[in-house]
Structures are given as structure tokens and as C-alpha cells.
């Protein structure tokens, strides 16, 4: 029998951080787009495109960081596409987002088969090496190998903290952030005040896509250096749930994503114990997302006016 303490320890915390990272990036992407008044159901597809192009670039160039850059670029491109469809052509935001999800799934499956000859997975490519923070390890008065895992993470995990803080500063402490929120809450008023509504929405959607792409590439290059068919597996939607749970705020989104990260890590821990059949354990994150969404968002009110804005 496995002891419960073998599952709940610092290693769990480290794993949770790793699991939360893509969710944090994607939910920040969601925050940016929803603050500007656009629902981004396409986060899932943008993540998948990021994961795929990251591996593709790494495969051809052998440089994982170029892969990360290309993933951010592709994510931004799909954010722009979402913007063109929903802002310029006043299209339905949910249909457009779902279209992006379907496109990403079809495109990556087709390309993976064309390039690597397998629908299911890519070959192994150079990933991003972990960076060990030695000075932190020395300064924390705890011993054991668990700390090694906590402070030996992918640089994208460390970057995540910076991005969360930056997002908060941009959205709530700068004039740009004020404009973004104004555009989301009341585009006509923002327009009267001289804000370029369309440009602001485009910028936010591109940022949203870039963040989702970054989250996606962490999945593929951050840990294993391999692309797997539909490897996001609904994480874009979980990120949306985390964003709602975090009340459309960067720190809130971070906290909610981290909570999901802990749940995922627990799930992996449970899987290794063999107490429950694997299918039931695999289903738990999705059940929990529904429960969390239903149970805790009662008072959550979306900050934005989601109608497409048409200038008179």
C-alpha cells in the first residue's frame, strides 16, 4: 500500500507548478482577450498550434528557443485571425474560436503525418533544458532531493512568474491597460475618449494568441521535446475556466491555474498508486473543472461587453 505522504510532498508542489504553467499562460491569454471584450474559445487551438510549430521548428533548426519564438509567433497569428473574423467582420466569437480549434486539430494531424509519417506523435526533438536555481536551493533550510525538483524547472516556468506580474502591471497600472479595459467595458465611450477601439482589440487578441502559443509550446518543448496528437487535450478550456475562477485578473488566473495544477499533479500521483482504474482518474480533472466552474463562479460577472463593436 502506498502512503498518502508519498503523494503529497514537495515533489507534488513541483509537479503542480509544471502542470500549471501552460494553464497560467493560456488563462492570461484569456484575460487579455476578454478584458478587451472578446471571448477566446480558440485558446485550445492556439495552444495546439504553438505546441506543434515549436516542435516543427526545433526539428528543422535543432534550436528549441527558435521553436519557442515560432510558437509565440504562430499563436499571435491565430490571435490576429480571430481578431479579423470577430472584430473586422463582426463574426460570432464562439464559432470563430471553435473553427480555430478544429483547424488546429486537423492541420497538426495532417502535417504530423506528412512530416513524420505518424498521426500520433512526432519524433523526439531538442527540448528546452531545465535551469537549476542553485542559490535558492542553498538558501532554503530544507534538505532532500525534493528541493531539487522544485528549483530545477524549465526556464518557461520561471518566465511565467514574470509574465503574470507584467500582465498585472500592464492591465491595471498603465494607461494602456486602462484603455484595454475601457474598450472591453464600453467601446463607444472609449471611442469617444479617443481610444482606437479596433487597434486595441487586435493588440489584445494578438497578445492572447502569443500567450496561448507560449503555453502550448511549454507542453511540447518544455518537458519532453515531442509533439503528440491533440496534446492539449482540453487544457485551453480548463484555462478558460481558470480565468473565470480567477475573476479575469492575472493573479487570480494564476492562483486558479495553480489550483488546477495541484489537482492534476494529485491525479498523476493517484495514477501511480493503482487505487482507481486509470480512466476514472483521467476523467477527474474534467469533472473537477465542471464542479469548480459551477460551484465557485456564482458571483463572477464577466467584465466585458462582448458584442462586436461597429463604429458609426
Amino acid at each position: 500500500m502506498v502512503n498518502i505522504l508519498d503523494i503529497i510532498n514537495i515533489g507534488l508542489f513541483a509537479a503542480a507548478l509544471r502542470m500549471a504553467t501552460p494553464l497560467v499562460y493560456a488563462s492570461l491569454g484569456g484575460v487579455f482577450s476578454e478584458r478587451a471584450g472578446i471571448v477566446n474559445v480558440g485558446l485550445e487551438g492556439m495552444m495546439l498550434m504553438g505546441a506543434f510549430t515549436g516542435v516543427l521548428t526545433s526539428f528543422y533548426t535543432g534550436n528549441a528557443w527558435l521553436g519557442v519564438a515560432s510558437a509565440i509567433f504562430t499563436g499571435g497569428l491565430f490571435g490576429l485571425l480571430h481578431g479579423v473574423l470577430t472584430v473586422k467582420f463582426a463574426g460570432n466569437q464562439i464559432v470563430s474560436g471553435t473553427g480555430i480549434n478544429l483547424f488546429a486539430l486537423g492541420f497538426t494531424a495532417y502535417m504530423s503525418q506528412t512530416i513524420w509519417g505518424s498521426r500520433g506523435a512526432s519524433v523526439s526533438v531538442p527540448g528546452i533544458p531545465v535551469i537549476s536555481l542553485e542559490f535558492l536551493k542553498d538558501s532554503v533550510p530544507l534538505v532532500g532531493s525534493a528541493l531539487d525538483t522544485l528549483f530545477s524547472q524549465s526556464p518557461l516556468v520561471y518566465l511565467m512568474f514574470i509574465v503574470v506580474v507584467l500582465s498585472y502591471i500592464v492591465l491595471f497600472k498603465t494607461p494602456v491597460g486602462l484603455r484595454i479595459r475601457a474598450v472591453g467595458e464600453h467601446p463607444a465611450a472609449a471611442d469617444t475618449a479617443g481610444v482606437n477601439v479596433y487597434r486595441t482589440k487586435y493588440m489584445c487578441l494578438i497578445a492572447s494568441g502569443m500567450l496561448a502559443g507560449l503555453g502550448g509550446v511549454f507542453l511540447s518543448l518544455g518537458t519532453l521535446g515531442i509533439y503528440v496528437l491533440n496534446m492539449t487535450n482540453g487544457q485551453g478550456f480548463i484555462a478558460l475556466a481558470a480565468m473565470i475562477l480567477g475573476r479575469w485578473k492575472p493573479f487570480g488566473a494564476f492562483a486558479a491555474s495553480f489550483m488546477f495544477g495541484i489537482l492534476f499533479a494529485l491525479q498523476i500521483g493517484l495514477q501511480s498508486t493503482g487505487w482507481l482504474p486509470p480512466q476514472i482518474i483521467q476523467a477527474t480533472p474534467y469533472i473537477l473543472t465542471v464542479v469548480v466552474l459551477a460551484g465557485f463562479v456564482r458571483k463572477a460577472k464577466a467584465p466585458s461587453d462582448y458584442k462586436p463593436y461597429e463604429k458609426d
Binding site: T98, F237, Y286
Partner: protein
């Protein structure tokens, strides 16, 4: 709108056409028709009138969809060409595979059947303003419920067992639609996220059931075969086309009827158009939303039951290649109209069954079809984009025409000069 014939003569009165036909008939026949014809005439005229008007509306409605499909196929061709396949080969194999013979046609309709259900499911929820993107989960749960009823009884007569199994499927789907419906109405949980998440839950739950409690002996994760009394008969052997398509077409009729001719349909549409206005109009919005999502789930669940009872005859793990996800795409291609959905389902079914032949013969990955389908969804997301594109297209054609006429007149001039010089 008036129909203008080629000569520029207005023929918006189809009666005129009948008159011409009548006058061409030989006198004896005309005499014999005589009285009855005279009496029937107004009815026939009004029938033709209605028909032509509906046809015109239908054609006008179908144009943007057709443009979207054509552009999507062209982009698909571009992707094929860029990855070293011959688009002409691929598409001709696809077409031949889907419509070339009765077997292909049967398989096309087989593939179209579950998609009719799931796109109706999406459509019904959409009419109330809800996005049920989780038809996949409802289809799986419905299929599992039908399979469980199918394997549980062995000595029921078919007229009890088959309806019971279908009902179970409908009930399973309804349950899986009820959960997000209640969460939406009572707790305001976003249905896009909950239906999506519940689809994953359904995927794993059914996978668990066929791997553990209801697993048939052997290596494959599947239930035992259902009792013959629960089977939907095959219609067109050797294809897998089953009675499920009849259930599907019945559901199309019922859905259209409910939406257009009943109070429930009126309420659902009113909620979808403007929930606030519907509420002030005395409609119970929450009840309407719950009902719409439950009916949506029921339709998807029936689709799953049809697949299990008609095609698979047992629940095999991961039997659905994503019929549920197709629902949204097909409902949009079908112009969010129950009858349009049938045509769109046949189109997508053809892509699917023809795509398999294409894959076998030319080695083109089947996923190119999902790519084309997703592009149609992207185009359908923004009708204004389609208008913009077709306007652009018309403008380009007009410019091209102008250039061509200009070119022609220049040629004419040149020719005339040449002649003058010769003289």
C-alpha cells in the same frame, strides 16, 4: 423577388407557364382534361408559386455556404499541392469513392446519419442561444445506454426491445445535456466549457465501462454483441446503412415542426433572439434553456444509439471518430436549418466515406478533410467576410471583363486598320 426569364420577360406568375403548356397540348387531351383541370388550376398555380418562391429563398440562402465550401476545398487543394500530393487525384478519388457506386453512396449515407443527429443537436441548442459543443459526449453516453439495454435482455420481442434501447439512448443523451443545462440556468456556468469538459468525462467513463464492468471476453475493449431483437435493420447490404437514417430523418421533421409550429419552439427561438425581451414577454427563460439543451442532448444521444444498434451492434471503445465535433460545423454549413442540415450532413458524410477511399488509393492523410471542414466553420463564423469576398470576387470578374472587352475592341481596331492598309 421576381424571376426574370432570359428574354427579360417577367415570369413571376407560374400560371402563365401552365397556360403555355396547356395551349401546346393536343386539342383532344385538352378537352378531356377540361373541367377538372379548370377546377384544379388555382391550386396548382399557387402550389407552383409557393414552390418557386421557396426554391428562390433556398438558393439565395445556400450561396454563401457554397462559396465557403468551394473556397475551403481550394485551400485544401493548396495544402495538398504544397505537401506533394495531387489535388486533382485526391479530390477525384474522394468524389468517386463517395458517389461512384451504390456501395459508396450507402457508406456516404451511413457516415451522414450520426452527423444529422449531432448537427440537429447543435442547431436546437443554438436556436435558444446556447452553444452545445459537447454533442460528442452526449452521443457516447447515449450509445452506451443503448448498448447496455441491448445486452441486458435476451428474450424481449423486437417491438419492445428496439424502442426500449432507442429510448435508453435518448435518455442517456438527455441526461448528459441536462447537467450543463442546469449548471447554466441555475449557476450560470458557461455551457461552452461545461459541455466540452463533460465530453471528455463521457469519453473516459465509457472507456472505463468497456474496459472493466461490461467488457466482452477477449483483448478488445468492447461490450458483448447486443441481442438481435435490439438491432436496427440494415437497409442496403453490403453497406452499413441502417434504419438509423430513418430515425434521423424523422427527427429532422420533428425538429423542424417543433421549432416552427409549437409553443416550445417559439419560446426557444425567442430566447435565442433576445433573452431579455423573451423574459419580459413572459417566457420562462431558464426553463426554455434547460429544455433546449436537454432536447439537444436527446438528439445526440439518439444518434449514438443509432450507431450502436444499427452499425456497430456493440459498444467499442472510441467508436466515434468525432461525430459530435462535426455537429457544429455541419449545422453551420446547413445554414442552421433542419433541412439544410440533411444536405450538409450528406456532404460531410461524403467527405468522410470518400476520404477513406482517397486515403486508401492515394495515401493522402484523411485529416485534410477535417482541415477543409474547419475552414468552412471559420468562414461561417463571419458572414460579412463571405459577403466581402464575393463582392471582391464580383469586382475582380467585372474588372477582368472590362479588360477583356477593352482588349477585344483594340483587336477589332487593329484588324480594321490592317484591312484598311490592305485596301
Amino acid at each position: 423577388m421576381e424571376n426574370v426569364s432570359r428574354k427579360g420577360k417577367k415570369t413571376d406568375n407560374p400560371g402563365a407557364l401552365l397556360h403555355t403548356i396547356e395551349s401546346r397540348l393536343p386539342p383532344t387531351v385538352r378537352q378531356r382534361l377540361g373541367n377538372t383541370w379548370f377546377r384544379l388550376h388555382p391550386f396548382i398555380t399557387s402550389f407552383f408559386d409557393k414552390l418557386s418562391r421557396n426554391l428562390a429563398r433556398f438558393v439565395r440562402g445556400i450561396v454563401p455556404q457554397a462559396v465557403a465550401i468551394i473556397i475551403a476545398l481550394l485551400v485544401g487543394a493548396l495544402v495538398l499541392w504544397a505537401t506533394g500530393h495531387s489535388p486533382i487525384d485526391a479530390y477525384s478519388q474522394l468524389f468517386a469513392g463517395a458517389f461512384g457506386d451504390s456501395y459508396g453512396l450507402g457508406q456516404t449515407l451511413t457516415q451522414a446519419t450520426p452527423i444529422i443527429f449531432t448537427s440537429l443537436a447543435f442547431l436546437f441548442a443554438f436556436k435558444s442561444g446556447l452553444f452545445n459543443i459537447g454533442a460528442e459526449g452526449q452521443l457516447l453516453i447515449g450509445g452506451m445506454a443503448a448498448a447496455l439495454v441491448g445486452i441486458s435482455f435476451t428474450n424481449l420481442p423486437f417491438y419492445v426491445h428496439l424502442p426500449l434501447a432507442l429510448l435508453a439512448g435518448a435518455g442517456g443523451g438527455a441526461l448528459w445535456g441536462f447537467i450543463p443545462a442546469v449548471l447554466k440556468a441555475k449557476l450560470d456556468a458557461h455551457e461552452v466549457i461545461t459541455t466540452m469538459m463533460l465530453s471528455y468525462v463521457a469519453l473516459y467513463v465509457t472507456s472505463y465501462m468497456v474496459n472493466y464492468p461490461f467488457k466482452a471476453p477477449g483483448w478488445v475493449a468492447q461490450t458483448p454483441l447486443i441481442a438481435p431483437a435490439a438491432e436496427l435493420p440494415r437497409i442496403l447490404p453490403p453497406t452499413q446503412l441502417s434504419g438509423s437514417i430513418i430515425v434521423a430523418l424523422t427527427m429532422v421533421g420533428i425538429t423542424a415542426f417543433v421549432l416552427q409550429r409549437t409553443t416550445l419552439g417559439y419560446e426557444v427561438r425567442a430566447i435565442g433572439l433576445n433573452a431579455t425581451a423573451a423574459r419580459s414577454g413572459g417566457i420562462n427563460v431558464k426553463r426554455g434553456m434547460i429544455l433546449a439543451l436537454v432536447i439537444s442532448g436527446t438528439l445526440a444521444g439518439l444518434g449514438g444509439a443509432g450507431e450502436i444498434l444499427g452499425v456497430e451492434r456493440r459498444f467499442i471503445d472510441h467508436f466515434s471518430p468525432g461525430y459530435g465535433w462535426d455537429g457544429l460545423a455541419v449545422a453551420l454549413i446547413g445554414g442552421l436549418n433542419p433541412f439544410g442540415v440533411v444536405l450538409a450532413s450528406i456532404l460531410v458524410g461524403a467527405l468522410r466515406s470518400g476520404g477513406m477511399v482517397m486515403n486508401r488509393v492515394t495515401g493522402v492523410p484523411l485529416d485534410v478533410i477535417y482541415l477543409v471542414q474547419s475552414l468552412v466553420v471559420l468562414f461561417a463564423a463571419a458572414p460579412q467576410l463571405m459577403k466581402y469576398l464575393s463582392k471582391r470576387g464580383v469586382l475582380t470578374l467585372r474588372t477582368a471583363g472590362r479588360v477583356l472587352t477593352r482588349f477585344k475592341s483594340i483587336l477589332k481596331n487593329v484588324r480594321r486598320r490592317l484591312k484598311e492598309e490592305e485596301l
